[in-house]
Symmetry: C2
Subunit: 298 residues, 2 copies
Amino acid sequence: MKNILIVGCGLLGSSILRRIHKKKITNKIFIYEKSISNISKIKKLKLPGIIVKKLEEGVRKSDLIILCTPMSEYKNIILKMNEHLSKKIIITDIGSSKIETSKIIKKFLRKDIVWIQGHPISGSEVSGPENGKHDIFENKWCVLIKDKDTKKKHLTMLSNFWNKMGSKITIMTAEKHDKIFSITSHLPHLIAYNLVKSAQDFEKIQNYDLIKYSAGGLRDFSRIAASNEIMWRDIFFNNKQNISKAIDLFIKNLNSFKKDINSKNDKSILYKLIQTKKVRSKIIKLKQDVSKPDFGRS
Amino acid sequence: MKNILIVGCGLLGSSILRRIHKKKITNKIFIYEKSISNISKIKKLKLPGIIVKKLEEGVRKSDLIILCTPMSEYKNIILKMNEHLSKKIIITDIGSSKIETSKIIKKFLRKDIVWIQGHPISGSEVSGPENGKHDIFENKWCVLIKDKDTKKKHLTMLSNFWNKMGSKITIMTAEKHDKIFSITSHLPHLIAYNLVKSAQDFEKIQNYDLIKYSAGGLRDFSRIAASNEIMWRDIFFNNKQNISKAIDLFIKNLNSFKKDINSKNDKSILYKLIQTKKVRSKIIKLKQDVSKPDFGRS
């Protein structure tokens, strides 16, 4: 791999940038970033890479393009890139939902260009290039999307790239991806936003100053509910069918809990609480979270 | 204060025990613990204090009794203690909901005995005396409950005690307490249990191995959903009216989010996501959580 263009240099774009530089993965790294504020941060932080003023400038000089922008930007970026792309170029992205973006890609990208979709399961509630870290992908999953047209050599090439980023690779279809992450990521985020929204509503109705008592549980949700709103709007809209089904399942189960509580159904509720407890130890065993109680916070 | 009896020596009981010993708050500490497994842990850990075999033994020798058992035990403990209580004794507890337990206390406790209800906003997903810590209450709120019969001298005495535990004191009615914590603690726990339950159901329906992809959000909920099931059953049952209302508000808001998502209502969803984001910085400013991104986990 010779040259890489990173389109969108926020939290994850700048993390990829830092990692490429640290591991000396490529000759040149180009950065295309729309936000003036982000550009001045990148300069101030003295991040590696060459900032290009025009997208096509980076596109023409690169072998690999990585889109790290909100998914709602993909269409415009594709339309801008199309005429400047050479056939040898490979495009990838890090978007958190896949079916809708694959439709955009199929519809608007030049037919002779390869785009392998990717999704590193890494992130944070904070955004921007100042929060990126070279080790953010370390030992985290990176999903690569395979459809009927995907060639093995392209998957291998991108697997190698993400291995160098520190990731473990898993390959699946866009359909499977969007189903799995509707439950393990998209619904949890929506639920966190919704819980904080409900607390805010309650605070207004009751006129209580309740946020100061949030250490008993609410604070955990507030972290996720502080995530970037543009990114999450795009995810919710792009994966709306799966998320809608997940919401229905969630409400069905919540009503069942409500019934247990209102009827003081001891046996039913204890069974549920004991069953759910098992997931935590499974998650820790799979190294998907730290093992320390309370995330090692206190 | 001369002697203190701790009834129930799990996570919080043993934390109080450690703190009393560390700060040399009292002459003697008695421990009454029903669980044989906990008693052997206390002995193995060489925790301070005298383990009494019979509850009345500790009751007769103490000036302050602190109940640290699940709330469903209160009635039995009161009935066992009643005839052994001297009039000078003060009883308190650390239960997480207050109206129902105040009814139990009023109904079963001898009329000449003072019980001031307390609730330190401290805890963890892990239980047992092996997980207690002397500084678990440090800079955390401790709610003391005041009703029309509460005497100032008793509140002062207990405020002093909890200050020595490291807590900040706030005083409110049982009604206000149960409303506030239905939103900041009880609903978040229920929602976490419910989300993990929904993920388990989904995993079964789809036959996907999805827990391994939980780093994108689910893992945070799994921590809370690993909390002690007896304690949480008691809280849900004891505060069922407020929790039921909180569930209704939550479902109403979730359906509104669903509508935004299905109709791709950009303006409405962005407004919500931006508003909820503000709570996080408020929580950090109020020192209710660590300020590091991702709880400083990675």
